[in-house]
């Protein structure tokens, strides 16, 4: 156990990565630490047929071809853009891929409205520039430039949140694979080493805010990550992430399977309702992604741990769900209220062990409090 609140994937899975590297005899592109097949194995987990001495657990849950297409893109000349609804695991996949390929997933630029070109290329240490003038020593390279110099993967989170002119700074980086520093007279070009590539993520809900230019689109391969709707996969994801979370918080708490079912079922219902809604007012603001589910569960677990009797109860889950999903008043509350009366209430009648009943009560109280 490290003393970091959240260790990056290369630290957390260091042992696994070492093992995979030791047995990997496949061809490795550029300076990759693992061959593409091993990267896939690290992300998707091992099977008995792979013939490994130890089991490698699955870390990202989704279609195998998405992972394969992502890895292959990184081995090619283009950058990878993972696009999808919020909470579909884009950033997690990006982190895992970076960790497996180059053992460094921390070279990240976070795209925001305030991101400038300096964050992508380089900036200057002003006091050093005053003291010694402009030189490589007084230059502060961005994470992307650091990745170029080291020949590793650089990450750009939420690319479409940053403005178009800032995005376009990536064009030359992805095409020419170098950054020139006109302020310097010599040693004024930073060339990317083999192995450099960029994994960017973009939220499909932000489409239209800062659309990518055609030139930049051409330099990225897009891999669309859909919302997980398969109940079994979703259950696995929620269980995997929640276990991790409990471990991180050092909480010993039993997650009853019936409660997990209730959570998955209620999200599935709300998604169906959102799909059939005709206007934005009729659907929840939340994307109802798997990450949201984990958020709801995390909230319920922490609440039970610190304010409850250290047992996860359906009432707590109900109120956490309402608390997490009711963002707009009165629209979201009205939808949840309708759901609670129209769907949850009839379900309590068929319910044998009272789980739905507790869920109903918890949610109803929360709706009453919020409205």
């Amino acid at each position: 156990m490290t003393d970091m609140l959240r260790a990056p994937a290369e630290v957390k899975y260091a042992e696994e990565l070492d093992y995979l590297e030791s047995i990997d005899d496949g061809p490795k592109p550029f300076s990759w630490r693992l061959s593409p097949k091993m990267v896939r194995l690290f992300v998707l987990g091992s099977e008995r047929a792979d013939g490994l001495d130890r089991e490698i657990p699955q870390k990202w849950f989704g279609d195998r071809s998405f992972v394969e297409r992502s890895i292959v893109t990184l081995a090619s000349d283009r950058g990878l853009l993972l696009i999808g609804d919020p909470g579909t695991g884009k950033s997690w996949l990006a982190e895992l891929l970076s960790a497996a390929i180059c053992r460094n997933s921390t070279l990240v630029v976070q795209g925001t409205a305030g991101t400038t070109e300096d964050h992508i290329k380089y900036s200057w240490n002003v006091s050093m520039v005053i003291a010694k003038g402009q030189s490589r020593a007084s230059m502060i390279p961005s994470p992307i430039m650091t990745a170029m110099e080291a020949g590793v993967i650089g990450r750009f989170e939420e690319l479409t949140r940053s403005t178009s002119d800032v995005q376009d700074a990536l064009i030359s980086i992805l095409s020419e694979k170098y950054v020139s520093i006109p302020e310097l007279d010599d040693d004024n070009i930073v060339f990317a080493k083999p192995g450099f590539s960029i994994i960017a993520t973009a939220n499909s809900r932000d489409r239209g805010v800062n659309d990518l230019s055609s030139a930049l689109k051409r330099r990225f391969n897009f891999v669309k990550i859909p919302v997980v709707t398969n109940k079994r996969s979703e259950e696995e994801i929620v269980r995997f992430r929640t276990t991790e979370l409990l471990r991180r918080h050092e909480i010993e708490l039993e997650l009853p399977p019936t409660l997990l079912d209730v959570l998955l079922q209620s999200f599935a219902d709300l998604r169906t309702a959102a799909a059939s809604a005709t206007s934005d007012d009729e659907k929840l603001e939340s994307a109802l992604s798997t990450a949201e589910q984990i958020g709801v569960l995390e909230d319920a677990i922490l609440h039970s741990q610190f304010f409850g009797d250290r047992t996860l109860r359906p009432e707590t889950l109900g109120s956490s769900l309402v608390g997490s999903l009711a963002r707009r008043t009165p629209e979201d509350l009205a939808i949840l209220n309708k759901y609670w009366h129209g769907v949850v209430e009839p379900r309590t009648k068929k319910d044998g062990d009272g789980t739905w009943q507790g869920f109903l009560e918890g949610g109803r109280d929360a709706i009453k409090t919020l409205s």
Partner: protein, 926 residues
Amino acid sequence: MTGRGREAEIEGARGGADTFAALREQLLGAAEAFGGDAVSGILAGMVDDVDRALGERLEIFPVCHHSPASALAMARRLREKRPSVIYLELCEDLRPLLDELRNCRLPVALQAFANETAGFPKEWAPLSVVAPITEASAEYQAIAYALDTPGVEIVLVDRSADHVFQWQPDEREQAGPDDEEALHGDAVGVEIGDLRPRFAELEEHLLHHGKVRHWSEWWDQYVEQPLAGADHATYRQVMVLIGSLFRRLAPERGDRDRRDEERERYMWTRMREHLAATGTDPSACLYVCGAAHAAGRVEQFGLDAAGTAYEISPRTETRWQYGLIPSSHSAIEAQFGLARGSVSIAAATFAKQVKRGGVTPFRLKDQPGKGRPLKAGAPDAPGADRLTGFLSTAPEPGGLDEAELLGWCVDIVRLARRNGYLSSTADAIAVFETSVLLAGMRGRSRPTPYDFQDAAVTCIEKDTVPGRRDVRHLCEILLGGDRIGSVGYASLPPLARDVFDRLAPLGLDLEKRTIQRALLDLDASPDLVPCSHLLWTLKRLMPERAVRPIMGSRRLGERSRQESWDLALGQYQRELVELGYEGVTVEQVLERRLRRAVHAPRATAAVALAAVEDALLFLRGRRVADELGARAVELLAAERTVDDAPEVLRRIRRLLTHFRATEPELPAWCGAFVTEGYARYCTLLPTAFTDDDIGVRQVAAMLGFLFGMESLALSLGCDHAQLELAVRQSHPEAPAKAALLWAARSQLGLMSRDELRARCDELIAGPLTVGSFPLYLSGFVQALEPVPTLAPFVVEVLSKAFARLPDQVLLPWLPGLITTLRDHARELVPTLVREAARTFPATLDALDAWTPPWEAPARPAAPSAAAPPGPVTELLAAHPAATDALAGLLGQPLEWRAPSFGDDRAVADLLARYPDTAKALSALTP
């Protein structure tokens, strides 16, 4: 060499039962290592199955559907062996259709169709079985070889279409939703060589470990590619092995297994019968069947089987029709649950292999029997164990060669650009690189079309799809696209040929799959009138989009001068072919359908009247219409309900108007219908008024019939007293019906308008009755149909309601009123609006000074002038009883005065001078 001698030689070469001894031993060893008798049983059983199939005197050729490897192996084998008889696993009753295949562009489907069933539940009708045939299939190779080589016979040996339904009653699959996928309609599909794991878990397991997404990809990678260039012996052994694997790894005695075994018994019995009847040497025959059947284990398997004789169950009495319908790759994929694009990829692979050379496939020629005559083929090669080698060595690298992949990469970029993508040469390079990398990652030495598809999606697809098709769809188009077949003119049923012949004057190529626009100026070109008739008939019989009028209409009493049509007969060829199963001309089909409709168990008088109308519109002769009309009378007499009364009224009114306008006299059935209806509705009226299940609309329609047809009915001998009696016997409780009854009574003169008005005023004024007043109003609105003269009164009552009803009563009722008026807009609204326009002032200014007519003070009655003297007056004065009775009925007091001529001396003089007329008139009275 005689057949026997060759067999002995082959048997010797095979080394008897020891051919697979080594392999069997090896597999048993493996089974022991994994443990379990079940495993060893399955593994050893598989080898036994292969051994048995190969040892059979009649050569068994195992195939898989839509498999290019099977097609190529078949072509090679046929050229090598040149068999004189081919037994094919296909419904035996489809045999006559095979000769028609040469007129078609493949893929087409052989179809057996039955409109009416005998021996099957009625709700199954129509029954349809389709067997699609593609060019890249082993069965097509066999068919083409057999039909084009003189002296070769092809015998279909599988169960008939009738048995398909006898044996699998519940397997009626639904076709996909798309137009192209629905080419087969809801037919049950049969295919040759269905080879797929028998349960979902096995398939899932194979897909998971094969690291592929769907079954077609698995098959392509693990069977198709390794077998592409394999020799005959290897091909046969491997296919039987796989067939055996899936047969043995199946849930114990499932339904499907039982059906398969029945089919195997059937096929072997048929083959034995044929061999016995013709005396053919079995070594000159070839039995083409699915690999799973080659590994069958029924006791009848083999020519020398000692199993009990199998008795083929008789067919039902269902009359089957046969024909060819167009098919498509996507329809085949949808019907048999294959992955999208897999049949197209198979076709492309087949074409590639053929181009690469080595084997020349058979293709049906336009004319039969022009092929080379049959020569004895080469003797069979010894069947040594090829399985061990095949199973233990890695397959030759298959997939795409570099030049082909490069070509595809360039083409997909071009195609994408044409579809709105901003793709460039750089994308072509990226697709190429990504395909190679993906193939490497998936453990393939060369990319397959599936890798190429994934690579193209990765590199070209961005966040939005600019046009109608996404990159995946474009790849499918590139890899051959969805090919849609068509049935040639010569192979169409007579009806379809007749349709095309009769529409020839339009000058359009109607066999094209695009929509054709036909413009008909019927005044300028009267020769197009028959085309117009035919098009209207087709519109009545075919799906909406097949024949769609853009301009022009056909209703009773109407004639279009110009018409414009959108014709998509090429797209709807299947429907046209299926129409051909019902008759020789469209008119005959329509006549049969109309007759069937009116004789159906659930037929009603309204249905029969609709059929009469259709017969008049489309068949134009009176013969059928009269017959259907007579049936309408029977149906009306037998009806127990009056649910259809509104429809009956609407239709009979229209028909009567038509006959009055076009015929010198009404058809006999019309008179019978009216008298029957009059008597019947009179009888049912009292019940209808009280029965809660009968709606106001129905009762209004009944009254409409009675009042509207009364003059005709009375002239045909009905009695008015019957109607009056019925109305007097009616005592409705529901307010709406009560209002309707009042309206009827006022029409019959049993209630005066003032009385009616007083009752309504009373209802509005009463605090207890005001709540239900809207219901009365609804009844009055409905009464507009039977009693149109009531319109001023209805306007008056509505106005009063709006003026006087409290909001809490009025507002909840308004939506109901609006929906009623909307539903019957055609009948009720014009009358109401016309009357309202007459009643209310036309301008706003006039409104202030306006007083409703019903509130205007009654004008003092003008003193009635004494009637002028004369014979009429004298007559009335001499017999006052009738006049008194009438006055009493009208509620008007009558005063008799002595006749006086007053000032009219001129009249008196005139009558005195010419008394003859007056005398003659008085002589008339008793």
